[in-house]
Symmetry: C2
Subunit: 398 residues, 2 copies
């Protein structure tokens, strides 16, 4: 064990404020345009700028804590004007909460704290595109996910007309922000499900890492890197009002840790196609090595097995189409019984062409299906970001 | 907003490793004897030493995340020898997990990570003192808490023969450690309830703070400070095998945020007797000011009201007897409905003389009873710590 390096050691900056800005500045710069005002405010440290071309929580590193709330529209929220009133309100809330300031009417203003890397991501469910005036605005490739043969979908984790996804380094801040946003939505929409998750994207040495799910696997290695052209073309829509936005598929996946633990490590690694120790493909040595899908062992078997998760989810088997996936671990207790799993988040410009073929292939053959079951599913169109003079959803709702 | 200060700024040390050690070294040094080996290992940074006169999680700062698991003994765990086997096993697990090493037989060894300030606190419930050979070892003043008039106790949050309390800065580490400890207990005991909580003891500027509950109140101001004679006499037992240990009362308290929010801020402050802004007594200006219980306002009313929580829980109204309280916020979702509350932890050498009179007084008159309801209650004797050549519970079980 060694001492945790200070930020200035990690980032090589001379000043603590500059180093702090580098931590989140990366996320902001990656997710938003280079004209982002955060670059002129290095003192903002662990505050993530809410403004930009894109909602900032998407490209940002996975938050330590997150809560997803799906809401259904009340019958009276029956047109785009009503929805616009809610979205203007949420925009003001988001600007305040991101900065650690209480939102208007905050009943626990002291719980609004700065420097917790809080982000709020908002999405529109399928129902929104049935409202008068919005039926022609349904994005290209925005589709509900059909039930797969291995799915055991439960209504209480599925669907929803609106999404709030709040992430932060501190769970109190997440709970407080969600409470404010849900309270302000009360005249317009009511929660139908809530999912709480957590992720550890920091190594023991304080450096960013991909993170692990509760099977112990490094989870998310194959992702396109935020800031690259590949990421941009994978994630950001160029379709009308959604330009600069994206779509999100939320899947709640239970993981049977008890039966998984009955496997040997090599059986576990063969099911995934990657090592447990560092997430490297079984044909490579480090996590970011690309897969060699042709390589065979001495007995002539494919090293990355036909049914391995890594092979079946590799973009080369998906006509080169990618997704950007993020995971949140969850535990759900019923009395003394604990269920463990993953809240799987897939961002892509187009669900039909990028996500559905991948999902169908995994459903048909993924070795992991023996230990995982999807019990919830929902889709949302994620509008682009907003500027100081704008508001979230304006390109759709005006 | 300003940049988050680096540790070296906060602690005024020249080296990052030394500063890191100061963060947790404080907790260790406060909670344990001055011969604690941590003082010779400044590089241990965010790792809390498992060895010492006391279990280290008690005096340590509240963890960001914690899980409490109560277990009931299986019928075959019917004597102190069987219990001793479990406690020896847990001791080895705790030593490994605290250092970020996988425990023996760990099925997800990569989830054991260092530098997350992980602590494990173990306790014995009342049933333990009914086992052959242990009936005479029931600690002085160790008593179940009788149901209070405002309690609405639910069996699923109450009782238990053994307690595991795992805290860390990272929730994945908490979940992993609990899984290992519960798995190793399987031949001996089975979980009966689990409670998950969180706390934010770090201010926006990175400095330690008391922290707030979900009403937004600063919660825990009146505590004796770890490392003081007052803390030692409040918390540590001097009774036979429990010497260096303590007792813990766990209360699960729901908080009705909706009706609480209907109050004005001054009504909220009057119910508590402290300001919301910084937790100062209504008769003072900063959090650590002592209460002036005689002070009256211009109308002759007591400034700290008769029924205020701060007055009724003040040690001067409890024959000078104190407790050491720690809180963990929780949220519990049932479908779309969220319950919010506090997992209240009270440490004291003697439940009967220190805790019960306080509780009875609060039950009779505390203004907060209108917005809070206790739904779970449990008590545990917390054995002293252990040294490199020892094991947890040895003073009781041999």
């Amino acid at each position: 064990m060694t001492g945790k390096p200070s930020r200035r050691q990690l980032f090589g900056y001379a000043g603590a404020a500059a180093a702090g800005a580098a931590v989140t500045g990366g996320a902001v710069a990656l997710g938003n345009s280079s004209s982002d005002p955060a670059s002129a405010q290095p003192a903002a440290a662990r505050t993530i700028d809410p403004y930009g071309d894109h909602q900032p929580g998407i490209a940002a590193a996975s938050p330590k804590h997150a809560e997803l709330v799906a809401l259904n529209l009340l019958p009276s929220t029956d047109d785009q004007a009503a929805l616009g009133r809610l979205l203007r309100l949420w925009t003001k809330d988001i600007v305040a909460l991101s900065a650690g300031r209480p939102a208007l009417g905050d009943t626990a203003p002291e719980l609004a704290v700065a420097n917790v890397a809080l982000t709020v991501t908002v999405g529109f469910g399928p129902k929104v595109f049935t409202l008068p005036g919005l039926t022609a605005k349904k994005p290209r490739g925005f589709s509900a996910v059909p039930a797969m043969s291995h799915d055991r979908l439960q209504p209480q984790w599925s669907g929803g007309d609106l999404l709030l996804l709040v992430g932060a380094d501190d769970p109190v801040s997440v709970v407080h922000a969600v409470r404010r946003l849900v309270a302000d939505a009360a005249p317009f929409a009511r929660p139908v499900w809530r999912q709480t998750g957590f992720w550890n994207g920091t190594g023991s040495d304080g450096k960013p890492v991909t993170g692990r799910n509760l099977f112990g696997q490094v989870d998310g290695s194959g992702n396109p890197a935020p800031g690259t052209p590949e990421f941009d073309s994978t994630v950001w829509s160029t379709d009308g009002w959604l330009t600069g936005g994206t779509t999100l598929v939320v899947r709640r996946i239970t993981m049977n840790l008890d039966t998984w633990d009955e496997l040997t490590r090599s059986e576990q690694e063969r099911a995934v196609g990657r090592t447990l120790s560092n997430g490297a493909p079984l044909t490579g040595s480090v996590e970011q090595d690309d897969l060699d899908l042709e390589k065979r062992d001495a007995e002539g078997r494919l090293v990355i097995a036909e049914t391995s998760h890594a092979r079946l989810s590799h973009h080369s088997t998906n006509d080169g189409r990618r997704i950007f996936r993020k995971g949140l671990n969850y535990v759900q207790d019923t009395g003394a019984t604990r269920e463990s799993g993953l809240i799987f988040l897939s961002y892509q410009a187009d669900i039909v062409s990028q996500f559905l073929p991948l999902l169908a292939r995994l459903d048909a053959a993924d070795a992991l299906n023996e230990w995982t079951t999807t019990i919830g599913s929902a889709v949302f169109a994620i509008p682009p970001g907003f500027r100081e003079d704008g508001w979230l959803g304006r390109t759709l709702l005006t």
